[in-house]
């Protein structure tokens, strides 16, 4: 089903994940440290430019190439996978898709090479799933936007190499009385823009997440990303696409649980035999494999629709919902198969267990996915 080139990319990323990420990521995770050197090497490998055309400095790959890469990375570790996913889907893609010539020329080269990272600030302390509840405001004062508000849980927003955060803000009122929401580029280091200390997270411990405060932050009027008032529509498109990527990442975690469990079931002995000889363990692992496999088929389908220009909204929601739940189920079963060792942070499946839960929450909760599917079914 995949082309020879897609397979070769998968192999290349698999080797990278096993050789470069796997041996060291546990330590970064334990220390809640961002793995700059791994990110640098992902950059030299061209991963941050994957879905962008060559004339934009990218690798000329398609969205499926990005998804395969995320699956292989997450099979070993989700922190590096989400760093790449957010950097592309939420960071560089909006600039590429909605940016002016000047905005692209200024920001994209370093983003597609992975030398810098961009973040997307939508969620606020009082507005997550209901993103229309945004209260951050931007007011035009002469030729500058003045921004005030708070964003929370923003991935890649506070690394040493973060160059910008695109924020959504209320810029006025629509004729129908609803909020006019726009996207504005805020360069890192702009006075009044404060990155708060990193959170203490349950999982994704080697990825970068911060609360952001905007206190009379002034940026040029030209930093508006896309037409004024289109911010809401823009991020809906970005999130639809991003769901396929999160489904791929979830599939990787689900598959990583299978990989680890198969190896452990062969090697661990109890009652005089390998635990893999017990049917209770075999069936558990079979069910895990079924979940990983169907998750993969679901994201392949959504990606194929996206690439063919067909409507992919429902397929993307199905893939994201199914794969994230598969990841959580597989992580629970994999830790069970590992017994007490599965509860020790040094065991990869313990990391998978901690990393799985957010997949049912981020980029649209499971409830929101069900709402999208129901709405698409006309109810």
């Amino acid at each position: 089903m995949l082309t020879e080139e897609h397979e070769a990319l998968r192999t290349s990323v698999r080797e990278f994940a096993r050789e470069v990420v796997a041996p060291v990521i546990g330590e970064f995770y334990e220390k809640h440290a961002f793995p700059y050197d791994i990110v640098r090497r992902m950059g030299t490998m061209g991963l941050f430019g994957l879905p962008f055309p060559e004339d934009a400095g990218g690798m000329g790959g398609d969205y499926l190439a990005l998804c395969l890469t995320l699956e292989e990375l997450a099979r070993v570790d989700s922190s590096v996978a989400i760093t790449l996913e957010a950097a592309i889907s939420l960071g560089a893609m909006p600039i590429y898709r909605f940016g002016t010539e000047e905005q692209r020329a200024r920001w994209l080269p370093d983003l597609v090479s992975g030398e810098s990272l961009a973040a997307f600030g939508l969620t606020e302390p009082g507005a997550g799933s209901d993103a229309g509840g945004t209260t951050t405001r931007a007011v035009l004062d002469g030729d500058e936007w003045v921004i005030n508000g708070t964003k929370c849980f923003i991935t890649n927003s506070g690394t040493d190499i973060t160059s910008l955060v695109t924020v959504t803000a209320v810029t006025g009122t629509n004729p129908d009385g609803s909020k006019e929401i726009s996207s504005i580029i805020v360069p890192s280091g702009t006075p009044g823009f404060t990155v708060l200390p990193g959170y203490s997270k349950v999982g994704w411990c080697a990825s970068d997440t911060h609360e952001l405060a905007f206190d009379d932050v002034r940026v040029p009027a030209a930093n508006l990303l896309g037409p004024r008032g289109r911010g809401f529509a823009q991020f809906l498109r970005i999130l639809d696409e991003g769901r396929i990527a999160i489904a791929a990442l979830s599939t990787g975690l689900a598959q990583g649980c299978v990989d680890e469990s198969v190896a452990y079931a062969r090697q661990r002995h109890a009652f005089g035999r390998a635990i893999g000889d017990f049917q209770a363990i075999q069936f558990k692992i079979s069910d895990m494999e079924v979940r990983a496999h169907t998750s993969r088929l679901a994201y392949y389908d959504a990606a194929a629709r996206l690439l063919s220009g067909a409507d992919f909204k429902r397929a993307a929601a199905i893939a994201k919902l199914h794969a994230s739940e598969a990841a959580v189920d597989n992580a629970r079963d994999a830790t069970q198969i590992h017994g007490g060792y599965g509860f020790m942070n040094e065991t990869p499946v313990a990391r998978f267990w901690r990393d799985a839960k957010i997949l049912e929450i981020g980029e649209g909760t499971s409830e929101i996915q069900r709402m999208i599917i129901a709405r698409d079914l006309g109810i």
């Binding site: 020879e4 080139e5 070769a8 990319l9 290349s12 990323v13 080797e15 990278f16 090497r41 030299t44 490998m45 061209g46 991963l47 994957l50 060559e54 690798m59 000329g60 790959g61 190439a65």
Partner: protein, 259 residues
């Protein structure tokens, strides 16, 4: 700089490897075949040199038809083209005849630098770089952990057990490298796509003007007569520490004449 990198396809050293029962050669069907690890460092070094000084990198492989997978992977890292020496008569070639064939192919490639790994993970004879330099009448800079190019002067830090030696030669020369020299790149998607279109020139022994009787089983200067599996590790001896563990360990070392 015109650089030729020697790339050998070998059975994956991380997987189960074996020799064939019939002719004692490596069982290439059983193992998954990969680029000899050290050769990836040679490719990286060649790319770095041409990125800094200009020029072109060519991959040269002697191996069966299936080695084309490894050639494609090597090309996806960045080299411009490849030469693949493939001929049924090559099976069973010894190191001496391998060097004869590769030297013949190098004759037509006009290389300023011939880069290769210091050893392959299957043969591990570490002689090919020396043999090639001898046959071509050029300098051999072997075991490099660092290579600098200044005009036509090549300087290496030659890694030894005690430290390193600085060795200099002028081009053309053969340079073999260790895995301490750099950090090989992983193929990018652009590189993978580009590799599809890169030319691979296939050469037979006749094309190179080498007589089939001088290579393969026919021309081997040494022959593997027999082989056996390494015996499984024996159970060993357990020392239970009942306060006298240290004494027991030393007693064991003494019976084995280690102390």
């Amino acid at each position: 700089m015109n650089i030729v990198v020697l790339v050998k396809q070998v059975p994956d050293s991380g997987a189960e490897r074996s020799l064939r029962a019939d002719d004692n050669t490596v069982d290439r069907g059983a193992a998954s075949n990969v680029i000899n690890e050290m050769d990836e460092y040679a490719i990286e070094e060649a790319l770095k040199i041409t990125e800094a000084h200009g020029g072109e990198v060519t991959v040269l492989t002697m191996g069966p038809a299936g080695a084309s997978d490894s050639i494609r992977k090597a090309l996806s890292m960045g080299p411009a083209k490849a030469v693949h020496i493939v001929d049924d008569a090559l099976r069973g070639s010894c190191a001496v005849s391998t060097s004869k064939v590769i030297a013949a192919a190098l004759g037509g490639l006009n290389a300023d630098i011939i880069l290769c790994g210091s050893e392959s993970t299957d043969g591990r004879v570490q002689v090919l770089p020396h043999m090639l330099a001898e046959r071509l009448g050029v300098a051999a800079l072997t075991g490099a952990r660092k290579l600098t190019v200044d005009g036509s002067t090549l300087t290496i830090e030659r890694q030894t057990d005690e430290g390193y030696e600085v060795v200099t030669a002028s081009t053309p020369a053969v340079v073999s490298v260790w895995d301490t020299i750099n950090e090989p790149r992983y193929p990018s998607f652009k590189g993978i796509m580009a590799a599809k279109k890169k030319p691979v020139d296939t050469k037979s022994l006749a094309d190179l003007g080498v007589d089939a009787s001088e290579v393969g089983f026919a021309g081997a200067t040494s022959t593997v007569l027999d082989h056996a599996q390494r015996p499984p590790r024996s159970a060993g001896q357990k020392v239970v520490d009942e306060g006298d563990g240290g004494v027991k360990l030393v007693e064991y070392l003494a019976t084995e004449k280690f102390v």
